[in-house]
Symmetry: C2
Subunit: 758 residues, 2 copies
Amino acid sequence: MLRTTQIILILLLFSFFSCNKTNESQTKANKHTAAHPNLMLTVDGVNSIKKNLKTTPLFDQTLEQTKNEVDEQIAKGIDIPIPKDMAGGYPHTQHKINYAVMQKAGLLFQILGDEKYAAYIKEMLMGYADLYPKLNRHPETRSYARGKIFWQCLNDANWLVYTSQAYDCIYNWLSEKDRGHLEENLFRPFADFLSIETPQFFNRIHNHSTWGCVAVGMIGLVMNDDELVNRALYGIKKDGISNEALDNDGGLIKSKDGKAGFLANLDSPFSPDGYYTEGPYYHRYALYPFLIFAQALQNKKPELKIFEYKNGVLLKSVDAILNLTDEDGDFFPLNDGQKGMSYFNSSLISAVDIAYFYGNKNKQLLSIAKAQNKVQLDETGMAVALALKEDLAEPFEKSSIELTDGANGDEGAIGILRGTYKNQKLTLVMKYSAHGLSHGHFDKLSFSLYENGEEVIQDYGLSRFVNVEQKNGGGYLKENKTWAKQTIAHNTITVNQTSQYKGKFKESSKNHSEKYLFNSSNKKVQVVSAIENNAYNNVVLQRTMVLVTDTDLAAPFVLDINKIKSKNNNTYDLPFYYFGQVIGTNLKLETSFQLNTLGNTNGYQHLWKEAKAKPLNQFTQFTWLNHNKFYSISSVSETNEDYILGRIGANDPNFNLRRDPVFIHRKQNKSNTLFVNVIESHGTYNAVLELAKQSKSTIENTSIIYDDKDYTAIKIVFTNKEQRVFIISNTNPSENTKHELTIKDKHYKWVGAYYFNN
Amino acid sequence: MLRTTQIILILLLFSFFSCNKTNESQTKANKHTAAHPNLMLTVDGVNSIKKNLKTTPLFDQTLEQTKNEVDEQIAKGIDIPIPKDMAGGYPHTQHKINYAVMQKAGLLFQILGDEKYAAYIKEMLMGYADLYPKLNRHPETRSYARGKIFWQCLNDANWLVYTSQAYDCIYNWLSEKDRGHLEENLFRPFADFLSIETPQFFNRIHNHSTWGCVAVGMIGLVMNDDELVNRALYGIKKDGISNEALDNDGGLIKSKDGKAGFLANLDSPFSPDGYYTEGPYYHRYALYPFLIFAQALQNKKPELKIFEYKNGVLLKSVDAILNLTDEDGDFFPLNDGQKGMSYFNSSLISAVDIAYFYGNKNKQLLSIAKAQNKVQLDETGMAVALALKEDLAEPFEKSSIELTDGANGDEGAIGILRGTYKNQKLTLVMKYSAHGLSHGHFDKLSFSLYENGEEVIQDYGLSRFVNVEQKNGGGYLKENKTWAKQTIAHNTITVNQTSQYKGKFKESSKNHSEKYLFNSSNKKVQVVSAIENNAYNNVVLQRTMVLVTDTDLAAPFVLDINKIKSKNNNTYDLPFYYFGQVIGTNLKLETSFQLNTLGNTNGYQHLWKEAKAKPLNQFTQFTWLNHNKFYSISSVSETNEDYILGRIGANDPNFNLRRDPVFIHRKQNKSNTLFVNVIESHGTYNAVLELAKQSKSTIENTSIIYDDKDYTAIKIVFTNKEQRVFIISNTNPSENTKHELTIKDKHYKWVGAYYFNN
């Protein structure tokens, strides 16, 4: 570690020096930027920013905040600790601060021209150049790809992506000798370490590799080293890695087609719609290197036309991820996703600004930027700030959307239905995609439901406390595998208490669900339906979900139909992970003075069985209260079936899991069968007025009035005697086919895959 | 039920009629108000309001909202259903709407002069006058005092309190014949029913009786019936009720001194500080009749000087209840209290306006009124609105305060310590009061802790879903008795797994805790201490709590010392009802594949035992995360003691209880002993930045360095090597006494009951 007092002394000297020759140094800075910067900032870009300073509140405010933040760190002095611990610990956190502050100091040097920022970066880099050659791989051995500064190469790559930008900003300010020293002792070894020396990290299709490639590519661009840039773009040709090799999260190292490099990471995890197969949480994480490198390539190698690559997938991906958020901007926690991550994250601030600037100046993006209340300190951020000053923002309209998965968009999809009923905004997210690489869950045909930015039926997300040291150093907890990835942890059918694909990542990765239909043309009745053929041997699952937000009806609801075909007799479990307190049910619940788990494996070992019940008749209703809203599930039942009220948290010695409740519908000894449930948001409670409005379900009965291989028909009768019938064609999803069906003397005629009316 | 179409027809006729003679009718209304109204509104008050209409935004806005609300109800037509169900059901809810709308319509008639409001009230009253003589007691038999319109007299009394005001507003507008009809068939029988015919309801010291007395008193004032007014003020002389009689909540009917009536209800449940012994939730509920009747008495019988009664206790009580709220204005759920109830409730809007007007025009009340954003539609509300228009509001300063309990202020107290540490506002609420009548809990020396309006260590509150019909008709659930009132449900010592006073209401009601000291003069170190001598035979409990918010230290904390004296060997359990997820502990937790309850009775049957542990050394630490904040309990322990992680919810077949967690420190086979715990709020988590700040406790060790009958001394060592010593004199709470004590060669000298320093 460098001595803090020494550094402060040096900085004071510099500060004195720069005070006495501000004009001279600015001239020098301008002159020296002839070729640099040219990654995120460019010479022209800097001039344009300077011209517009003090004209836009948002840019000036971000600049001011950044300056305060960096000045505060400079005042603390330079601190480069010896690498030691996992995430959350002090050296880890300090190295993260260092690269973040260097990158920002670079921007400040360019924009403000104050050499104290350049001096700070130089000293920091010199310190790292002293330290780096002495480092072996990190002492913590948990990672499949141990770094040198951090416990995993991923964090080392983060360091280089940010530091490259800082280096670019002071490149011309540094002497040639200093540059030579840094490149020889720090940057080139660093780039080789991340790539040639750690191919299992670099040569993958994975967010880790995206960071690795971008780190190598960025420093290559600064150093004008085409060999490095090409290595970044196209990967290492011969890496010698086994096809079976796994990372420490259980993910495969080698991609299916053996491709690697930055462009391969664009080809494959992104669908043509811009959906990133690992899910929005990692999409957000990979988005920053994807876009910042694209911006750098656009500046330095415009001939690559990187923003047009794969029909403009990079910009589409920004639109996709913004659509994968709830009303508050929080990402849906599909696959491994930590709840609370949102489009307020800095990588999304960067993404929104870049997408606005390099895209078609979409004014809807401006309203997101406005909510973010921060911009990227470059030309893209200035463009956004200028547009906001001119009040050009338009609301970002999140409507129903299907985002295909797979490199070619043919590996299923995420279907999002959004509906509005009076002041209630409901969002249904259904997952019928591919597995999602190493961060995927065994959750085909699962769904989650949101109302006004709150979870109604939750997706559990991951089991991890990112950067909380006490919890396994901030890394994945073992319950992520034993619980969070298992099928029973999701709102979808588990067959015979076994996870989909027997919980085998390799098998699941070979397959995906198939879209059956997605139709959001009628805003009051929107339908998504998909089929899973491979998750279980000899079982075909089809789930159809209908979001009904018709104000002619007493409440909005989701009709959920799971049609199961099998030749064998099986046990089927369909859980609904609700939140809050049970208000009422027509089930006669049996509880016990002792709690047991629901099973021994496949996630069942983590569920306590709080109560069970056999339905009293063919209509079962369950009502709960959460956040002062009343919800009900109305369910078609048979008296030989089971309902289970469970709670997460068994076999969890470290209390890693949330004690959330679940309502499970179980059918035993069934081959073909049908689960029909209606999830309804029907009432409110006001604790100040002590007023319960419509605390009871508005549904009096739900029944299956027809079901064969061709059609399934469900009738819903409301307490106000209104009724509706939903019929779906099970064989023909076409929008144009004419159908006719007679059910109990009533003749139904319609065009398209489904019918909904009275 | 009256036919809606008939009513609409009548209203249309009236409306036509009044349109054609608006001026004439206004004159008539003015002329007729010579003597009436004279309860909440007065003739002069109405004139003054009219003069100030359209000058204050807040009054006009409230008036507009009220008009919309009432007009909407008038458009629906009159609906007087046959009484049938419990709270939450349709007839119950409709009758509540009726009286609320009548009262508002009366105000609108007076303020706006539009006769349609008078006509609406008249028709409604005529409908009730038709129905009332036909009614027997309500068919639902659960109440100890069944009403006629509602299942309990309490709601009938609500009806009359509101309806009296409506009647007052149209008194002069009605013909003498109509008045005679209403008084003979509705009002007088109604008043007699609530009092003479139901003395067990009327003649108590209880919020029920407050409503009953005020109902009778209000209608007496309107009818100029001094007999009724006196009955209200002084109760029924000979009620023939047994001294042992109980209500359906298990509360005693007869008061200790046998007194009854409105004034007795002011004498006894209110302490001289204005604390209402049932707790803030029922204080709020009783406050409206208390104040509205006081206002009416002030208008009609100013010679009573009701606002000066008992040294102005009514106005003091408004100040007291405002101090019994957290940073968001939510009441502390002491005794039976439903969470979420706050000073935004209409009775507090009324209370704040009345207290401003009849008090000393306290400008701090204006900031509460501003937050409430609504005023009472009378002279008091107009005064508040005018003052707000002139921008006179000052912040309502909630500081540390001790509110004595008991008619004479000598039955213990509620001690509230409030401290600020940077941006953290901490509030500690300690209860060492009397039992709290039928709504009291067995929770002597319990506490709760709040940070910035959020619960850190919770008081469970009641077990009830007020007005949610599915939950026992909105009434108390049996778990209120088996769980919520029991000692183990509170953050205080339970001895030998038995509740205080063996859970006997009668015994507990005879006793109260004793204040030892309350000192908030040093804002960085505030101390409250109290003693309980009677809750357990042969056990004396003293609890001392110190709120430390000294920014010289790394985090704010509460030092909690429970000193127990007993001749017998006992088991002591001290629970902390935290929220959120366990982050870490130095305990080696043992979990099981099966959950059992912690006991069979006294509330223990409702706790699941999730994990247990023996301390590994003499310092035990337990850290959790809630709402993105890290908290720890650091505890002095011995290796033969036990810690238990529990969860509420066992033996709860209807899922009435919240599944909240608890951390319990258990000492077995101890006679005299000392529990020392430090509860600390030390860190934050940001899910967008994924940044954990100070996720670990700042405390390295806590130890008892001295303990005998005279002094107890605790030493806290922080991870940054700072240390503090707290010494309390166990025998002398005086602020002036000089003390000297030598502990391990260090000599301490101080003045007052305690010492805190390094």
